[in-house]
């Protein structure tokens, strides 16, 4: 696989604000040739060049890998223009796989459709579970408010006009009920905290994108590659990087 193709694809996606992901760090068996990340979105690229056509059924194998990629939100097949006629556009389109044709530049012939990744689905399940627990907590809150108002009403009544022993018994029941709800609430609260910290922890891990800084041909003070799109060609980078320097003061 030529570095030229890889470089063109990296340039194409970084200009769209994606950061390159180090393939070696992916814990999957069927790794794509390139992987990118933008915020929480992930994108894989499977490359078909002349070398990869040597084996029998190589094209179908590569397309099958792309179609069954469950880890990325967006999946692309990248081919040299000479091979494009061998690719079934309809099949890719049906499964939401994008197609990039590489010539002098990279041309996006088919856009990839967004798919929920397995990781995100897990995240979604945790969120749903959290929501269920939150709803339960709200129900308990309401029950406690009702009990609270019952107790206030009893207190407000002052001199008991009821049978004192039956009132005591009711109060004991209410107290026991409050104790039970209190312990359930405390257990829900700790579960919520555990789930919340799990989600935060996962987010933090996702946020730690391995950054790959590539050398550029153009000489700039601060390279904006691998950074979000609002860094690209931003004249403020040079202005701000000279803040506090004597030249700038002058």
């Amino acid at each position: 696989m030529t570095n030229d193709i890889i470089d063109k694809l990296i340039l194409y996606f970084t200009s769209k604000g994606y950061l390159e992901y180090e393939i070696d760090k992916l814990s999957r068996d069927d790794k794509p040739e390139l992987a990118f990340k933008r915020g929480n979105e992930t994108l894989s690229v499977y490359i078909l060049d002349i070398d990869s056509l040597s084996g029998k059924g190589a094209i179908m194998k590569k397309i099958a890998e792309a179609i069954t990629d469950e880890v990325s939100n967006f999946t692309y097949i990248a081919v040299l223009s000479e091979i494009e006629s061998l690719i079934d556009h309809e099949l890719l389109s049906k499964y939401g796989v994008g197609l990039l044709v590489i010539n002098e530049d990279v041309e996006e012939k088919l856009s990839a459709k967004r798919r929920e990744s397995r990781v995100m689905k897990m995240d979604e399940e945790i969120k749903n579970r959290l929501k269920e627990l939150e709803l339960k907590a709200i129900k308990f809150e309401k029950a406690i408010v009702e009990l609270e108002s019952m107790i206030s009403r009893m207190e407000f009544l002052g001199e008991p006009t009821y049978d004192i022993s039956s009132l005591n018994e009711r109060l004991n029941r209410v107290e026991r009920e409050i104790e039970r709800i209190k312990s359930e609430l405390s257990s829900i609260h700790s579960k919520l905290e555990r789930l919340e910290s799990k989600i935060v922890h996962e987010k933090a891990e996702v946020a730690e994108v391995p950054l790959i800084v590539k050398e550029t041909e153009v000489e700039v003070t601060i390279p904006s590659e691998g950074l979000p799109s609002f860094f690209k060609d931003n004249p403020w980078l040079n202005i701000l990087s000279t803040r506090g320097r004597k030249v700038e003061e002058a």
């Binding site: 809150e141 730690e208 609002f230």
Partner: protein, 423 residues
């Protein structure tokens, strides 16, 4: 610390009037967003004790779970940045700022062993007085003492952040939010002496919408703030020329007739022959001096007043064109053409729709600004709407925090640089 370190650990904080937008550079294009508010629960309530709430103030996404009686909300639910400025002694508001800042930093606490603290770039309103900077620095210092999460901190004005996010070193940024509008010329630095502030924002369009609803017989709806805001967004139009627009709408009442059904209810608002009033909503934001508004002021519509908040005078009745000219003319003459050449509009108050069928008579915010300037013989102007205005301040903070050298020490004269909190 290397450039590589800042690529991972630069952190942006935008204290907006309604939302707090925050997060590290690794989030990419969009920050995390929570409402800029805090809830002070009633410590004497059984709920407080049962929920084992240890904090004095609750912030973040789970805040609604802790809300209690509706009548207590106004005193217990605090929006600290409602008009961009917090009083020096408003302890509750500062407590909320402390909690949301800590909440945001702890949400992204890195696990990597190379982490030695974030380079935090926070952003405040352009009209924030010096004591707000001091308070915010103190808050970060206190958080760092308890968590070790902040290596260094700096604060920049929001219009500068907008200019950075939009790659415009020389421009005028107009930031119009819920309560006020700030016009800030920028030429590599914010030109603080030229800032003009207006005591007018999205809430004023809500006020006149409420009056229009009241006049049309919807007095009960006119009192519901959130419904009024939705009506404003659905029916409000900015006229190219108010008098012509009113004449046209009165000539073709059916064409301009507007009905709005409140989702999830049976209520439908129909302005019928009064539908021409939808043009008043947009005009009022940009130019409340039009003759037609005098009758509304006489009938009790509160006239936007000049008010002094901190050291800044917020003017009530200047139209947007006059305000831009006033700000630009405080700058050197040579610079003025460059400033007019790039005017950036930012903030929710500039998001106005123009339906295709009304394009001959209604305009968007950028065109309206150009027309107001043209009336005053300023013609060589370029006005742009900031794309994704909600995130531009955070993006500007990230670029600033990343690019400004770490050894550039904070200067109170220049109001920039880093305050180092730990090694």
């Amino acid at each position: 610390m290397s450039e590589k370190y800042k690529r991972k650990y630069t952190f942006g904080e935008d204290y907006g009037t309604s939302y707090y937008k925050f997060g590290p550079i690794t989030l990419g294009e969009k920050p995390e967003v929570i409402e800029n508010r805090g809830y002070f629960p009633d410590k004497s309530s059984i709920m407080y004790k049962l929920m084992s709430v240890e904090r004095e103030v609750i912030v973040g996404k789970n805040l609604p779970l802790y809300l209690e009686a509706r009548e207590d909300l106004s005193s217990r639910l605090i929006y600290p940045m409602r008009n961009g400025v917090i009083d020096r002694d408003d302890d509750k508001a500062w407590k909320v700022i402390y909690e949301i800042t800590r909440y945001g930093l702890e949400m992204f606490k890195p696990v990597s062993p190379d982490f030695k603290g974030f380079y935090v770039c926070a952003s405040l309103s352009a009209v924030a007085p010096r004591y707000m900077y001091e308070k915010l620095f103190d808050i970060h210092k206190e958080i760092d003492e308890k968590t070790n999460l902040i290596k260094a901190v700096t604060i920049i004005p929001q219009p500068l952040a907008v200019a950075i996010a939009h790659k415009a070193p020389t421009c005028v940024v107009i930031e119009s939010g819920h309560g006020n509008t700030q016009i800030c010329p920028i030429s590599r630095y914010p030109i603080r002496g030229a800032i003009v502030a207006l005591n007018r924002g999205g809430s004023d369009a809500d006020t006149i919408t409420s009056q229009i609803l009241y006049d049309a017989g919807y007095g009960d709806i006119a009192r519901e703030e959130s419904i009024v805001r939705r009506v404003k967004e659905a029916i409000g139009l900015i006229p190219r020329n108010l008098d012509e627009a009113i004449r046209e709408a009165k000539r073709n009442p059916d064409k301009f007739r507007v009905k709005f059904k409140i989702p999830g209810t049976r209520i439908e608002i129909d302005l019928k022959e009064e539908s021409w009033t939808r043009f008043l909503i947009g005009e009022y934001i940009f130019n409340p001096k039009n003759e037609i508004f005098k009758s509304y002021f006489r009938r009790g519509l509160p006239k936007p007043k000049d008010v002094k908040i901190g050291e800044i005078l917020f003017k009530g009745m200047l139209d947007f064109g006059e305000a831009i000219i006033e700000a630009v003319e405080k700058c050197p003459i040579e610079l003025q053409p460059y400033l007019y050449n790039r005017i950036l509009l930012s903030g929710g108050n500039f998001q106005w729709k123009v339906p295709d069928e009304f394009k001959y008579i209604a305009v968007d915010a950028t065109t309206k600004i150009k027309l107001l300037l043209k009336e005053k013989e300023v013609e060589e102007v370029t006005v742009e709407m900031a794309p994704e205005p909600k995130y531009s301040v955070w993006r500007g903070c990230i670029v600033y925090g990343y690019a400004v050298p770490e050894d550039y020490v904070w200067s109170w004269d220049k109001m920039e640089g880093w305050i180092k909190l730990h090694d």
